[in-house]
């Protein structure tokens, strides 16, 4: 099993619903977030292109954050989901320094927190909160090893990219372009 997400940059309108849904679902403290919207404007005026991306932890296959964690608090769960065991985390910040995507933050209670792909929901057969709430239905979630999962199907059909693959982390959130 290999959980992954595909996000359609052509459909996303940057409404931040996913951000709010995540904050509500996961009790993210005010002022913090586990996912966020990035807007990239690229080109030569007047030929400009805008790309909107909903970004979060990429649940990398080769995660520097898991590698550098001295206590094993950051670890892989079934399906390659990267999570943090709160009462094993000492809050040393090594994993925050090690993530090229800056996907982690230090929770006011001391431990490090980040996107979990809503592991508590997918165990019950639900989709992650951000995927479920998106009004344009621009996100796809599922098992990459299952050729018929919606994420496998959409990745087969559409051109896609990952973020800074050259950092060597093998990110598992794919952006449809």
């Amino acid at each position: 099993m290999r959980y992954a997400m595909a996000i359609d940059t052509k459909k996303c309108v940057g409404c931040s619903d996913c951000v709010v849904a995540c904050q509500t679902e996961n009790n993210v403290p005010i002022g913090y977030c586990r996912d966020w919207i990035v807007e990239v404007t690229d080109g030569t005026y007047p030929q400009l292109e805008i790309e909107l991306r909903s970004e979060r932890c990429n649940h990398c296959d080769n995660s520097p954050c898991v590698r550098c964690c001295p206590t094993g608090a950051s670890h892989y769960e079934k399906g390659g989901i990267v999570t943090v065991t709160h009462n094993k985390c000492i809050g040393c910040g090594a994993c925050i320094s090690s993530c090229p995507y800056d996907a982690r933050y230090s929770h006011p209670e001391g431990y490090v927190d980040k996107c979990t792909f809503c592991i508590h929901r997918i165990g019950k057969g639900l989709k992650p909160a951000c995927v479920a709430v998106c009004p344009t239905k621009c996100m796809y979630f599922g098992d990459l090893e299952d050729p018929n999962s919606e994420v496998s199907l959409v990745l087969k059909k559409r051109k896609h990219k990952t973020l800074i693959p050259e950092a060597g982390t093998k990110p598992q959130v794919y952006y449809l372009i």
């Binding site: 977030c33 966020w36 919207i37 030569t44 005026y45 590698r67 910040g93 800056d102």
Partner: protein, 313 residues
């Protein structure tokens, strides 16, 4: 002109780690760790070589400082932890891929060792020292029999500790400035140089001071060589590493790095030490303080600048 503008909906210091993760505690800890490693290295080296009587400043006197350095360093590290009550989790496992893990274990081993070493030589400072209890006296005589073995363990651990202060940072490929394996040897050399300088301060014999002044000059030359290599490597590498190098070559860290670290922390003390060797009268505390200052600034600058350097996407 082709432009790319990235607007992120979250640029705030709570979330963006390049705006806030490691503060003064980490560079201070790296400095004290490196300095402790340097002092212990020379103490062990000259014990193994059987030159204890010739170089008592290195073997017997300077190491008295080390337990204090390590304890203050560990305390700084502890202050940096955000989930402090769980710090013991560090010692429930060993993760070989995590420098912070084996660093923590190395410290766990070298701190008590440095205390034993300091205790063995306490009479150099308090000639009338008495352990009072017979059992302590017995332990002391017993340990003294194995002093050279102890020195062997200490020399290995001190090299690991010295390198670790650099590897800790170089393991982070997300921060291009740190992501170079030269940082390990560079921090080790800088720690050894700081150690040699401190021994100069503790030494009472002119002969010993001359030796350590020479050693320090050699180490500074090696450091300058490694720094040149560091920048050559960056400039020949990917764009993010070129950007990292540019933080020091025209960017915001140019003046502090070249003035505090290279000129004040290396060139001037090396020059003063050379003059001293040529019998010009200079209070030897001046180069020592400069070397220590430079080595502390070096850690501060690398830790802070590293957090500014990042991948852009």
């Amino acid at each position: 002109m082709r432009e790319e503008i990235i607007t992120s909906g979250r640029l705030n210091p709570h979330i963006d780690p390049h705006l806030e993760i490691w503060h003064w505690q980490i560079p201070l800890y790296l400095f004290l760790g490196g300095l402790a490693a340097g002092i212990l290295f020379f103490a062990a080296l000259y014990t193994i070589m059987g030159k204890e009587e010739k170089y008592p400043g290195a073997v017997r006197r300077a190491p008295i400082l080390v337990p204090f350095l390590l304890v203050i360093g560990l305390f700084a590290l502890f202050l940096d932890l955000k989930h402090k009550l769980f710090f013991w989790q560090l010692y429930t496992t060993i993760k070989f891929m995590s420098p912070m893990s084996w660093g923590a274990w190395t410290l766990m081993a070298i701190t008590p060792l440095s205390m034993i070493w300091a205790a063995l030589h306490i009479r150099d400072f308090f000639p009338k020292w008495d352990w009072k209890y017979d059992i302590l006296k017995d332990i002391e005589t017993e340990i003294l029999k194995y002093k050279v073995h102890l020195a062997w363990v200490m020399i290995v651990l001190s090299v690991i500790l010295g390198i670790y202060t650099g590897i800790l940072l170089s393991a982070f490929n997300a921060r291009p400035l740190w992501n170079t394996s030269i940082l390990g040897p560079l921090f080790l050399t800088s720690g050894l140089s700081a150690g040699a300088a401190t021994i100069l301060l503790f030494s009472k014999s002119a002969k010993e001071r001359r030796l350590f002044a020479k050693i320090d000059i050699l180490l500074i030359v090696i450091e300058l060589f490694l720094i040149t290599h560091l920048f050559m490597g960056f400039l020949a590498s990917t764009s993010v590493q070129i950007d990292a190098a540019n933080l020091f070559l025209g960017g915001p860290y140019t003046a502090p790095f070249w003035i505090f670290v290279v000129v004040l922390g290396m060139l001037i003390p090396a020059g003063l030490e050379i003059m001293e060797l040529r019998h010009v009268k200079i209070p030897h505390v001046i180069p020592v303080v400069l070397v220590l200052f430079g080595s502390l600034m070096f850690r501060f600058i690398i830790v802070y600048a590293g957090q500014m350097s990042r991948w852009l996407y």
